[in-house]
Symmetry: C2
Amino acid sequence: MKSATAFAPATVANVAVGFDILGFALESAGDIVTVTRSDQPSVFIREIINETGSDGVLDISREPAENTATVGLIKLREDLQLTFGFDVMLRKGIALGSGMGGSAASTVAALVAGNSLLDSPLSKKALFKYALIGEQAASGAVHPDNIAPCLFGGMILTLATEALRYVSLPFPQEILTVVVHPHLRVDTRKARTILKREVLLTDHVMQAANLGGFIAGCFRNDIELIKQSFHDHIIEPQRASLIPGFAHVKAAAIEQGAVGASVSGSGPSVFAWVTSPEAATQVRDAMLKAFRKHGSIEADSWISPINQQGAIIIK
Amino acid sequence: MKSATAFAPATVANVAVGFDILGFALESAGDIVTVTRSDQPSVFIREIINETGSDGVLDISREPAENTATVGLIKLREDLQLTFGFDVMLRKGIALGSGMGGSAASTVAALVAGNSLLDSPLSKKALFKYALIGEQAASGAVHPDNIAPCLFGGMILTLATEALRYVSLPFPQEILTVVVHPHLRVDTRKARTILKREVLLTDHVMQAANLGGFIAGCFRNDIELIKQSFHDHIIEPQRASLIPGFAHVKAAAIEQGAVGASVSGSGPSVFAWVTSPEAATQVRDAMLKAFRKHGSIEADSWISPINQQGAIIIK
């Protein structure tokens, strides 16, 4: 039978200034899904392979209607009234609960692989809707800020989930991202429930100014403006308590010259932007050391440019 | 003695998506201030001329230490240890409490005129600080979102008042602004005290998406994106009640093809963006009619491109 394998990248959502609306994709981490067309008119999970080095993957449901990778495919089959089914093999490269968009990557990789097996494949834009459905199954809420960059690549501002509206933002080409993933797991739903339902108007204004400055800095290729704007007064202070040693890890990154650093998605991963490979290494080493010293925790790390192409067929 | 006359434009602050941080300048309305160097080592208000057609100007203090036009000049004299003084004549073209940045314009025009009389005039950037001091005297708070575009022109995002940081935003060149000023006065302090001190996190996210989309639309010259983003979910609903007929006036503007419409500053003026002179006339007429019908109130109106140069010496 025909089969296809897709890679979908890890993503950093929120990006300090855009809670729930901003995210970008990485190049060096992601999930890989192989989908095979089958005569069975259903979606079946054949195998889930854990390549993350953590044991969190064992929690993933093998039930297609509950698994983030397959829910979108099930809906796609229904909508297109396909007569054939999909047999899915999932290789998790992103740990669950890492804050690196793991469920988005599984969803997107499965959809991109499955879509390529259709007699008339849909556009990526048309797949966006199904990816949001899959992601919702995983987290109980729609997170286009992970899904959109995972699918399309680049850095994306999502404007309103209802209308699937989004806009790609430019960014300085020298930017490299350091992501450090401490070996603990933060439940996305829990990371959300701890957030206060209201924010001070003064904080809203300050944070809006940061978002505006950040976006203007990206359009103008102005690293200094991005740096001045790279602050989260609302979400980061509330989530920092879930990440042992966070304040020290962030301070270490800034001290080593990072443009900015914050929580990746709902954590516990922490990311930083830097402007050179040398700075990337120094920042990463300092962040790992700070996690060890102040959080008593080991961590994985990645250094990556922003991924420009998003999910792709690799076989 | 040497004298100089400066024009400082009316400004629209907030611009629907950027409460307290975004504003732009108009060409067709403003205050004019003539400053004369005097041997008296002080700042003196010679005359205040009301050219607004409303009687609100009568409330302006003649006491230099309390008048928005002169407070900045007083501080400038002190800081620069000037031996001479300033004699000030103020022609108010912007009604008080109109939401069109009248106090900012008085402050800025006086400073720009006075500055030009110095032996070594300061840059506009250096005057920004003194303009904020003058404006604070008027409203009890610093409003850089009026001051910055009044002084520098264009559309400006202010990033943090403390550091006097701001960034000029581009905008589509075909944009024209319609401003309609109903004959009633809204006290800036009152318009502020009615605002809730907290906003829902969900509203913060939605409003941040609007700001982001608006700024991206301005950089990309994308009128459709600007239109989709041109909504204020936080401030406008709270201030609409201070403006009789507001909902109808806004609806009339949108119905006639406006890109967007909202409260100008703290109101009661309402502004709309349009993309052609024909649309400007239609939108203005519809807004005036709606104020008459649903607010039982007459209004002045202006149609203006965005002012690119800000305050200038005119004599």
